[in-house]
Each structure stands twice: as C-alpha cells, then as structure tokens.
Assembly symmetry: C2
Homo-oligomer: 648 residues x 2
C-alpha cells in the first residue's frame, strides 16, 4: 500500500489561485481572450474590449419635452393671468413630445396651459422662460463622452445607449472556450443505462452548463479511459482551442488518479490539493498542446459532484472572468441565524450548503439557516440549498443560534414566501410541495427530515413553520399531542392532520426471510435496519416490541440507524438488511414487499397564530382540494379521511 | 387643442397589473405557455413543467467512500492497538473511492490505517464497525423521491441531479415569445444615419435583449408608421405567434399616439396610464389575431427609453414569468444613506436611479446613494445606475441622509471597490476610469458632475472619496486651497493635482460672431450660455469679468445655466448661444472653435487618511504612468507636468 495521499497538499484557496496565476503567466498563457466585432444588438452579455466613446449626441436635436405649443419666449413676456396674450397662427406651432423644436422657437408651453380660441389663436396667461420644456441636444449623451469603460459586461440598457450614441458594432471579448474532458473507466454517457459499478457522466453536463451560465462556450470531449497516455493525448488536444481545460475526476491520489501526474509530465503542476472541503483534491496547472506551443490553464476537478461544482465556482469562474477581463459575478448575501451547531475541521474552508427560511424575528432578519448533508457526493444538497455558508479554515465551526453570513442561491423574497417544514418526512409533503408550486410559482414548501421529535424541538426553537410528526405515546396510545404538551408546554399550538398512513416492515421481493410481523424480528438470522432516535417509526417499533415483551437487544441490527424511510428501503434492497420499518411508498420505491404493522396519523404541528397567516393559506386550500386527496390515496397506503382537520 | 391627456389615468401599478391579468383571463389568454421535451443537458435555464421524480437511486450501489481496503466488519472485532489483526489475501480487497463495495464485504478501512506487510497481508490495529466509510445506495437520491417541483428554473446542479436520477429528457415550458412592434414615423433602424428629427430604434433592441435576459425568445418586426390601420394590422399579425406583444411608443395621448385607441378597437384596453414615473403613459390590454381567435396580452410601452426599460421590468417581466409558471427574477437590495434631499410627486411610484458608493461608516453599511438625472429620456441614468430606489406614491420624497432601501443593479462587492468622485467633471476622469478598468476589471472609478463647489460640499458631508475641483479664489488668485480652508476647516485634507487644462470660449465653427475674448461677451447681440452656480468655470468667468470691470448683467444669457462643459458646447452647436466657457475637449466634441482664456489646475481633493488606502492605490499608480500622461496630453488642451503631485 502506498503512503497516504502522497502528493496532496492543503494549500489555502487564495494561495492556490495565486500559484495558478503565477504558473499561467510563467508559461505564457494569454492574459485575456481575443476580441471580436459584433453588431450592437448582439453584444448584450459580452464584455467590452475597449472603451465606448459616444460618436453622436442623443438626442441629436432640441425637441419638445411635452405635448403643447412651441413659442419664442421673448414674445410672451407680457402675458399674465389678468392680461392674457393671444398668439396668432405663425407665432406658435403645435408640437408633441419628442418633436424637433421648430426653427425660430425656443420654448414649449404644455397643452394644459394653453387655451385655443375658436379662430385658432393660442391664449397664454403667463410669460414663458426660454428653453422651458425643451429637451436639449445631448441631454442624454454628449458626443465624445465616455459611455462605457473597457471590461464592462453589456446589459440591454448599455447596448441601447451605445446604439443611441452612434455605435453600430462593438469590439468585445470572444467568449472564453472551456473544454471539458471526462475521464474514468466506470464513466458512461448520459442516456445509457449504467451497469452496476458504472456512473453516468453528470459532471460534464453540469460543468459545461456552469461555464455557459457565466457567458462562456463549453464543449465536452468523449470520455477518456483511466490511462495516462490517453489522458495526456486528450488534454493536449483539448488545449489547442480551449482557454481553459477541465479534466474531470482522477484528481485525487488513488491508484487510477492520473490527473496530477499527467499535468506534471505534460506541463506545469502548480497546485495539487487545496484547503477547501468539499473540493480538496483539486489540480491546478497549465499544459501546452505541443512543446513550444502556447500553454493553456488546466483545472483537474474532483469526481464527487459537489466538489466538482464548487471547484468550478472557486477556481474556474474567477479564472474565466479574468480571461474575459471582467469582474467575476457576485452572489448577494444575507445574515442568518444558524439552526444548529455546526462543527468544521480546522485548516480548510468548509463550504456548507444551507436551507434558509424566514421563521421569526430576532437577529438575521428572522432568517434561519439549516445545514444540509455535507458529503461531497450529495448533489441534492446543492439542489436543495438556498445558500452557501463558508466556515473559514481558522474556525472550528459555529454554535447553534450564531449569526452567520450566507451567500444566497435564491432570492430573499422567494425565501420569505417559503413554508419551512422540519420533522418527519412523508411523501405527501413532496406531493404537496409540487402541487403548491404548480398552482402558484411564488409558493415553496421546503421540508427537511430530522424525525418527528427533532421537528417538535425545531418548532420550539423557532426554526420552522411546521413540524411533521407521527409520534406515538406508548402510555396513552395517542399520537403527537402528548409530546406537544411536554415539549411545547405554554406555547399556543395547533395540530392539523395531514394524512393517515400505513407503517409496516419492508422486506426483499418475495419475502425470502418469511417475515410475517414484529415477532420475526428477534429471529437470530434476521438482520434489521432501524431508524434514528427520535424518529416516530422507531418509537412505533419500540412500542410494538414492548407490548409483546420483546427486548430490543434481541433484534439484530437494532443499532444500525438510517435517517429516512427511503434509506431503510435502500438498505433492504441492497441486501444489507432483511427488514426495516417504513411506509408503503418507500417499499414501492425500491420494489420491496410490505408487511403492514399499523395505521398511524401523520400531523402538522405549528404555532396557532400561524394558522391564519397568509403564508400558509395556499397549503390549507390544497389540503381541501378533492383532486389532491384523490391523488394521495392513489399512492397507496394513505387515507385522507381526516386530511386538513384541526385536531388541536 | 384637445383636453389634457384625455384618456390617461393614474392607476397604481399593482392595480394595473391586476386589471391586466383580469382582462387576459376574461379574454381567454393562455395561463401558461406550452411544454416541450428537451434533453436534460439542454434544459438548463428552462422551467420544469411537471415535477421531476427520481427514477433511479444515486449512487446506484454501495461504494467505497475512501481509498483503502474493503473488509467484513465482523471479521475485525479482535483487532486492537496491542494485538493487531492480520488479514490474508481473500479476507480483504483494495478499493479506491467510488469503487463498488466488493461482494462479501461491508466496511472500508482507510489506507492511512492499514499496514501492508511484505507478503501482502493487511494489518489492522482497530476493529471496524459495519458500513464504515461505505457510501450507501441512495445516499444522494432515492428512487421515487421528489427531486424538483413543477415551476422550477433549472440550474446546472439541478440538471446534473436529474440526469443522475435517471432523467434523459425533461418536460419544460416553451420559452415565451415576445414580439416587439416599433412604431413611429420618425423611427429609423439602427445602422442607418438618422436625419435631423429622426430617432434610432434603440428601444426595440433594448426590449428584445431584456426579454432574452429573462429566458424568453424575442423578435422585432419592421417599424410601423403612425397610422392606426397599419398599427392594428401589425399588432394582429404579431399576436398570432407571440405570447406577449410589446408595441413601442405611441402609448401617450398626443396627436400621433394610437396605441390605446388601437388596442381598444382591436381587443381590450385594460389600463391606459399608471401611477409610475417614469413610465406613466403605459397601455395594458389584449388583442386577438382575428375575431374569435385566442387573445394575446399586449403592452404599449412609452417611447422614452428609461420609461420603456422600466415598463418592461414592472409589467412585462412578471407577466412573462407567470406565463412560464415561475417566480419572477428578484434583484437583491441594500440599505443606503441618501446623499441629498429627494423630492417626489405624491400619487405616483417614483423610480429613481442612484449611484452607490461605500464611503464611510454610519447607517446603511457606509453605502451612500446619489440620485442620477431623473428624466425619462436619460438612458445613461440607467447605464450609470448602481441601484433603483422606488419612492412610493404616498411619499413626498426623502430628506438628505435618510436611510433608504435600494434594489441593486451591481454587486455590493464591486460597489465596495468603486472610487466615488463627485464634483467638477473632466474628460481626464473618464480616461482614467477606462484605463483603471482595463488594468484591473475589479476597479471602478465613478464620477458625478455637480461642479467644483458641490464636490467639496459632498466631500465635507462624507458622500464621496474624491472631489474634483478647479475653483479660483479671486482674492488670492489661488485655486481650490482657499475653498478647502473655508469649507473643510478642521478636517485633514489632501489635494492631489490631476492636470492643468485650458479654459476658453466655445464658439461656432469659423467663429461667425468674431469673438476674441471676454470683452466681446458684453456685446448686445452676443448670446452667452453660462454654467451653474458653484461651477469653477462660472467662477472663472466672474473673475475675468470683474477684473475687466464688466457687469454680469451686461452679458446676455448670463442667467441661462447648463451643468456640464459638454452641455454648454451642445447649446453653442445647436445655435442657441454664440459663446460659452468650457474646455478644449468640449469644443472638439461638437466641432466648435475655441478661444483660449486661461490655463488652470484641476485637482483631486480627499481626506488625508485615504491617500494611502488600498482603494486609491491603482489611481495613484495610473497617474504615474508615462503612457497615461502622454495619452492625456494627446487630447489637447492638457498639461501633465504636475499630474500626481500632492499640493497639500
């Protein structure tokens, strides 16, 4: 076995960027991409490659700024309220807004202030100062003034102003070309059906889209096998036309990770490994298509999708902005209160994806940030994220409730209209989320799964609007309400029934272990997969064991915890367990068999004052809809008989 | 004369939107655009038309989460630090991150924790819990879970997650098609040379680009003459394919304004005139291609460019987002301190363009907002704007220093790196702004023209970093420093020389009035155009008159004020005046002759503590550059002999 990560360093991100820039300069990479001349109408989104000076004034002539009549100011000095002045035809001219000021006139009187007599005269009751309501030549743009500097990304108003100033074409930067080279024996193109052990090439799709999103062109090459000679050849070929080559995967130090070695051999390896999590095993360097040819920057991106996406943001995007000669795009940010303690490794910037919700007052504008799963492989953590929280290398993390700064991935207005549900998760919440959005694109229902008990605690701590709960109280046989009394004593709490649902044992197709109910779980050869502490499903198991006088210690795998119904189903489907408790929908998701155990109510717990809040009105309206209820019951394992009923 | 604006109402914007939506619904306009099926890689930027449920789990198999060896956890229970366990070949398997977990194993030991003996055995010094460093099937995505709701605009990570979950194609909304119909006898296509009185069709270019910027398709028709029948025909034709028709100009109530009448006759006129400035004379309605055909929403946009641009933002963008079934894009906002009093008309939302700069502490994060020119025709006010400040209809305005909320048009980071110059304007500042940006895209120099005295007052009030000044003190003959002593007494102030420049009289080409100097300005037939009070150029004129014993009252046009050198030049060029004082560059801009009067120093005034601030370092470096000085002197009328010298 080779030594651990022999080549991977932990260079701080800023230092890595500097080292990469230094290598690019030393190897003669171009500082900027070239220029092209484009029609002004096609220049929007491009970056000016030279300053734009006005060639013409706009407006190009004096014009009426109001509808009315053009007059010579000097001819009106005698007009007063008591001695109106009558102008004859030829002493004034009718003009509309924008009309050129007729020759011989120097002011405009608004239509509202003119009385036209029956014989066509114009009566004025006040003298008019010169240039009144005249829009002067050059009011907007004066010839020769600087309209835009070099290095400005053109917006629609910029292009219109350039055209008004006489520009027909503009000299802009060519769009930087990003060539993406996917590598890996196990990588298969999207559209194929991957065999076990194979992975779809979703990273190339994502990186190309990220490049296009910031105004670049992007091309993806064929997938290259894990062979250093093939990778070298592909890299050199990509470097011919590209302004930046991104080599995907193989950037770590495993047996088939060739990126660093290939870059070092074919060009300059500036950095291998940065103090950023996720994204640590990144490669930064340059490579030339051939000896003596001009070098091209190369980024070796890690294969884990979150690492790949963040690596693009942190390293590729600023490099591409510099090549285009423009400031990188900035994300707006907000302050937020952290929903729970967040530990972070000292020594690396930690990019934490968070959900945001506006759930109350207090610091951070009432915005609460809940960290999402932090694995580099959990792309859905980026999909679901409303923001990114960077814990800098020098910090061990943040404590719960601490005010933090979050880069926004969604607008604050949209976040303010988001219903935040934390607690037990149920598929019906997903169905509701999609139906709400379909009815009104401004409504979002975001649910995070921490189990029923965790949801009630989150509600107590002001971190969510709704807590989804199906907690059985073994003493009373009642669901949820006894826990509300205990955990939320003193608070004015409402409980709305979402649905009744069947809980049961998920078993492999055909039920090979012959499991017929809870009693079979203590059979020594049966491997169970449990839910985490605080999950209603685990409480249900404990209750069922207890009323049979069975000891949890007899259940093999009782300590093996998963956090969702679907994760339990996945464990059974993968053969890691013979049975686990969950809902019918989870069994169906993985093609498992289902042994019913109980029918339980699943409720939404919230503060009473929120029941009539406009935020939640669309949800209550949805729960009342017959088509929604019918759709839920069609899923199987659900009853909507009490859906929407306030049980407290 | 017809009564004033007979048809134009002042409906509040929200009410106008509601009336438009109501008309669209009543006339059977589609609520959403249709759907199309696109490959997942081409779906980025599109809006989901149905929820995306995961078809496959990702990862699709259990895999190693670390480089190391796969083991069976149960076989390692005896391993301890003091009694290492030796695993033989066949009892473990070497795996890299991402490799499928080999059959028969259920945990991974990191390479760093394994010692490989010379004969190929693996030595463990600790027991391994089951599933250690195993990435479970479905860790990222579980089959059947909701990945994205309907009505979600797809980002690169979303498309990658959809692909990972088994999507090959996605059902998305068709891009809404916006047809833009320019109207007006005086409108000419971009690329032609407009005759006097003609206007280039920059609005269509801008509106089409605005539509594309928010994800729509846009087409511009030929320009339609001011003829109601032709406009009706063009409108009906555009309505055939369009999801929204924008009719440009003619939306007011002048003689040639047909939009409202045409829409009323050919369809439904829902709103004519909204309580929004600029943008008041807007038309909202629907029109059908033919009787009985499906109706299409129509927006009649005013012809003034700022009105047209804001009308798109306020009315078209939300309509198009609704048609695509997605929340409208949101601009981030910031709080800022208002640089000066801002008056606003009661009864209309006032959309004020502002420049933003971070110039100090205090409320609003040290960000100061300076209102830009407010005319509906001043498109450069939008080009130069960093933000939009809406003064609601119910407010008379804001007082100076008040904290206001501003929608951001540029990133706050970029704004924080902007050097804010307020005061007298000089072309050299423009040249410097462009050179600074060319050298470093992160640096912005933003200058606003309020005259020298206004600049010193702004500096005193903490509204800018630099004040450009060329104020002559008639008593001492000294420039700027005496004013600094008076206005900024007690403050620690530095003064840096930017340039020496020639001031003179701008006269028509060939100098038809035969003006040879200041003395000629009192000739009765000579019409002068002056600068505003507080402008250094006006002080210079006053001084030159005074030392000749001439009375300003003798100068015809002394009270006619313009605010910039270029505006003075424009007035002379348009024949509204025979002479005005200004710099050589302004004369050249308008092809005027120049009669020299004086050479004066133009200085940059700032607080001493800022001299060594990193914000200004690029500016000082630029002033020291020989190529910059040479370029300035090439402009004519400038000397750089003292450029960069600290005169206080």
């Amino acid at each position: 076995m080779r030594p651990a990560s022999p080549f991977i360093s932990d260079v701080p991100a800023a230092q890595a960027v500097a080292a990469w820039q230094h290598a690019c300069a030393a190897d003669g990479c171009p500082e900027r991409v070239g220029t092209v001349r484009v029609p002004v109408g096609e220049a929007v989104g491009r970056v000016t490659a030279e300053p734009v000076w006005a060639r013409r004034s706009s407006p190009a002539f004096d014009s009426a700024a109001m509808d009315g009549i053009a007059v010579l100011a000097a001819s009106t000095t005698r007009a007063t309220e008591t001695t109106p002045l009558l102008l004859a035809v030829g002493e004034f001219e009718v003009v509309d807004t924008g009309d050129p000021l007729p020759s011989g006139y120097d002011a405009v009187v608004m239509r509202e202030h003119v009385h036209r007599t029956a014989d066509g005269l114009a009566e004025l009751r006040a003298a008019v100062p010169p240039y009144q309501h005249v829009r002067s030549i050059g009011e907007d743009i004066s010839a020769t003034e600087l309209l835009l500097p070099e290095g400005h990304r053109l917006r629609p108003v910029d292009a219109a102003a350039c055209a008004a100033a006489g520009a027909v074409e503009l000299v802009v930067r060519r769009r930087p070309l990003v060539m993406i080279v996917p590598t890996g024996d196990e990588i298969r193109p999207i559209g194929t059906e991957p065999a076990p052990g194979e992975i779809l090439d979703t990273n190339s799709l994502m990186l190309a889209a990220q490049a296009r999103e910031i105004g670049c062109e992007a091309q993806v090459t064929d997938i290259v096998a894990d062979d250093p000679d093939l990778i070298t050849a592909a890299l050199r070929e990509a470097a011919v036309a590209a302004d930046l080559v991104i080599l995907v995967a193989g950037s770590s130090a495993g047996r088939d990770d060739y990126t660093a070695r290939v870059v070092a051999a074919a060009g300059t390896l500036a950095v291998h490994g940065v103090a950023v999590r996720p994204g640590h095993p990144v490669v930064l360097g340059t490579v030339a298509p051939a000896t003596g040819a001009q070098a091209t920057p190369v980024l070796g991106a890690p294969g884990y999708p979150v690492s790949a996406a963040l690596t693009f943001d942190i390293f590729a995007a600023p490099m591409l902005a510099a090549l285009e000669g423009v400031a990188p795009l900035e994300r707006p940010s907000t302050s937020a209160r952290l929903a729970r303690k967040l530990a972070s490794t000292i020594g690396a910037d930690d990019w934490v994806r968070v959900r945001l919700g506006r759930v109350g007052g207090g610091p951070g504008n009432g915005i609460v940030a809940t960290p999402l799963p932090r694995g580099a492989g959990v792309l859905t953590s980026l999909v679901r994220a409303d923001g990114l929280l960077v814990v800098p290398a020098g910090l061990e993390g943040h404590h719960a409730g601490e005010e933090v700064r979050v880069e926004l991935l969604r607008g604050l207005g949209e976040i303010g209209r988001t219903i935040v549900a934390i607690g037990s998760h149920d598929l019906v919440l997903d169905v509701a989320a999609s139906a709400l959005r379909a009815a009104d694109p401004l409504v979002t229902l975001a649910s995070s799964n921490v189990g029923s008990l965790g949801g009630l605690v989150a509600l107590r701590d002001g971190l969510c609007h709704l807590a989804g709960s199906h907690l059985l109280d073994p003493a009373t046989g009642e669901y949820t309400l006894p826990y509300v009394d205990r955990l939320l004593a003193g608070a004015d709490i409402a409980v709305i029934r979402l649905v009744h649902r069947d809980q049961g044992l998920l078993v492999a197709p055909g039920n090979p272990a012959g499991i017929t109910g809870i009693d079979d779980l203590v059979r020594p050869e049966v491997r169970y997969v449990n839910r985490q502490r605080g999950a209603g499903t685990r409480v249900l198991l404990d209750h069922e064991l207890s009323r049979r006088g069975l000891d949890p210690a007899q259940v093999s795998g009782y300590t093996r915890e998963e956090h969702t119904h679907l994760a339990v189903a996945a464990a059974v489907a993968a053969g890691r367990a013979d049975a686990g408790m969950g809902i019918l929908a989870a069994a169906r998701a993985f093609g498992l068999d289902f042994v019913p155990v109980a029918r339980e109510p699943y409720d939404l717990v919230l503060r009473s004052e929120l029941v009539d809040d406009e935020l939640l009105a669309p949800l209550w309206a949805l729960l009342a809809r017959a088509d929604f209820r019918a759709g839920v019951e069609m899923l199987g394992g659900y009853s909507c008989q009490e859906t929407g009923r306030r049980v407290r």
